[in-house]
């Protein structure tokens, strides 16, 4: 498989970036980390804007940087969306959008103005100048401009930070399409967990210029040690399911997860296609017996207790690792723990109180 290998060390007074990356050069790699952790610096090194001394970078057998070689940015065929929009003030929106497009060989162009302008909702603005745009509009132009270069590698620095959820819900599928259709690998910086969940294939967690964790989304999200970085609420299982059938009468879609069934509101996805769902550890409650009485809690998974987490004397909840074919995480209260008297290996019913479908337009904030 194609790899993106990189090794950079940059020294600023008061900050050192020092990291070695070994990523699949396909799909979306999300770079995640607190403000000032070095995300932008990393993108600058990857793009060739900054040259880390004695750095190394190789993508799909092409060496972009080593002791002797340094391919300048304009020859790397990358698309770069900066954190600030950086539009050219002397060009109107259309000219801005086409700047890189015109500098791409016609044979290599895989996107065109009309489509990009339409998806990014820029059609009415094409003749306007950047200074007459709103913040979010400018950001969208910057995204469009980078996409229109039909890059071989796309680097995006918080591209959707100033956009509302409806726009995000329209743009994210478009970004996914670029990944799937044109096989463009993307390195994507964001602070938004929703963007992470919808886009991520590989996740890189940075802190103070170092790589804290790197791996698939399942690994990273069920890593209890990353609670701080990822956020309490987001910890949990990310499961790959496939669409089993649609229940048109009740407006439900049934998903197959390792032979068990999950019911979710009707999703507009063909049967057989896969769907990623996110089950927050806080949304999993446990019971020893199935529930009596009619209830709208429709999703109950049979599982086994794998491991009861350490109860921090000052904490009020505890993480229970379950095995339902794939690891599932449940965070329950002290009181529940006392009631349940859990033992490793014990069969248990996991009530899934909420399932987050991670696909187009869903779950955006």
């Amino acid at each position: 498989m194609d790899l993106l290998e990189a090794k950079f060390k940059m020294d600023y007074p008061g900050f050192t970036l020092d990291m070695e990356l070994n990523l699949p050069a396909k799909g979306v790699t999300v770079v995640f980390g607190p403000s000032g952790s070095g995300k932008t610096t990393l993108l600058r090194c990857l793009s060739g804007l900054d040259k880390a001394p004695s750095g190394y970078m190789k993508i799909a057998d092409q060496v972009w940087q080593d002791e002797e070689i340094f391919i300048p940015i304009q020859e790397r065929k990358i698309g770069l969306v900066f954190q600030e929009s950086r539009l050219f003030p002397h060009l109107n929106i259309q000219e801005n959008l086409l700047y890189g497009y015109q500098r791409t060989l016609p044979a290599e162009r895989n996107l065109h103005l009309d489509e990009v302008a339409q998806v990014l909702n820029l059609e009415a603005l094409l003749k306007r100048r950047p200074e007459k745009l709103s913040g979010g509009e400018r950001q969208r132009v910057a995204i469009g401009r980078a996409l229109l270069t039909s890059p071989k590698l796309l680097l995006m620095d918080e591209p959707l930070a100033s956009l509302d959820m409806q726009l995000k819900a329209e743009i994210i599928p478009f970004i996914k399409r670029i990944v799937n259709e044109f096989k463009t690998p993307i390195v994507y910086v964001t602070h938004s967990m929703n963007e992470v969940l919808q886009l991520v294939d590989t996740m890189v967690v940075l802190n103070s210029g170092k790589v804290e964790n790197i791996g698939s989304v399942e690994e990273v999200f069920s890593d209890v040690r990353l609670r701080e970085v990822i956020g309490d609420e987001q910890l949990g299982a990310v499961l790959e399911t496939s669409v089993l059938e649609h229940d048109e009468e009740f407006g439900l879609t049934r998903l197959d997860f390792m032979g068990q069934v999950l019911n979710v509101p009707r999703q507009n996805i063909p049967v057989g296609q896969s769907l990623r769902v996110h089950i927050h550890s806080k949304d999993v409650s446990l019971s020893t017996a199935p529930l009596a009485g009619a209830t709208s809690v429709l999703n109950i998974l049979k599982a086994k207790v794998e491991k009861v987490g350490v109860l921090d004397p000052k904490g009020y909840s505890v993480d229970i690792e379950l095995d339902a074919g794939r690891p599932i995480l449940a965070t329950i209260t002290r009181k529940s723990l006392a009631n349940l008297n859990l033992q490793p290996g014990q069969p248990i019913y996991a009530h899934i109180k909420a399932i987050k479908m991670i696909h187009e337009g869903e779950g955006m904030q």
Binding site: S47, I73, Q74, K77, F82, F88, P89, H90, R103, R129
Partner: protein, 227 residues
């Protein structure tokens, strides 16, 4: 009328001289200013300081040194004479050389200032979109430096038009060849032909005013903000 015929030539010559000089200055000043704005070399300040020096000498004196330099025994004029048969003094080419040197600071300084204010962000951005440095320079930096170029051109053009100390010395006031309008007006004042001096001055002023008005109006109509 004979009068008008007599006067047309110096005007035409002046315009040619100013035009050619400004063009050379822009071609020459742009790389110098760009280098100054980009380099971290210690020589930068030296070059910066040197660029302004031609201004410090009185024009006639500068002209005198140029006369020596461009003349048949000069470091520049000598080789040129050996090659082409005639030195640079008393020729239109010589005038262009002299004017170029003398007006250099008026072009380099505003451009340098413009390039420095633009900073490195637009260049970075253009390169990230696949533009080579040359391409980016002409498609992004030049338009962003428009005000700098305007200043450079106006100062360069006007100064070349008005200058006569250097030009008189190096050019030798040869009608049709090196006798420019500024010398013509100067001569009129010298010989007390005030009326004609007034007419020529007024003409030159009005003409320049109209040209400048046009230039600034076009500039104004172009989009303004370059932040």
């Amino acid at each position: 009328m004979d009068f008008s015929l007599m006067d047309a030539e110096p005007i035409w010559l002046s315009l040619q001289l100013a035009g050619v000089t400004v063009m050379i200055l822009l071609a020459l000043g742009t790389p110098v200013a760009w280098w100054l704005a980009q380099t971290r070399s210690r020589f930068r300040v030296v070059v910066e300081a040197m660029v302004a020096l031609p201004l410090v000498l009185p024009p006639t004196v500068l002209g005198f040194y140029l006369l020596i330099l461009l003349g048949p025994h000069g470091w520049v004029g000598g080789p040129v004479k050996a090659l082409t048969g005639s030195a640079l003094s008393f020729s239109f080419t010589g005038l262009v050389c002299a004017s170029t040197l003398y007006s250099l600071p008026f072009v380099v300084q505003p451009l340098h200032s413009a390039f420095e204010t633009i900073g490195k962000v637009p260049m970075e951005t253009a390169q990230s979109l696949g533009a080579s440095r040359w391409d980016a320079f002409f498609s992004v930096i030049t338009p962003l430096a428009r005000r700098g170029y305007l200043t450079a051109m106006v100062l360069g053009f006007a100064h070349t038009l008005g200058e006569f100390g250097v030009v008189l010395m190096v050019g030798g006031n040869i009608p049709g060849k090196t006798k420019v309008i500024s010398i013509e007006i100067y001569d009129r004042v010298e010989v007390l032909e005030y009326t004609q001096a007034h007419i020529l001055s007024a003409g030159l002023l009005i003409f320049s005013f109209l040209v400048l008005l046009m230039v600034y109006s076009i500039n104004r109509r172009l989009p303004v903000q370059v932040t």
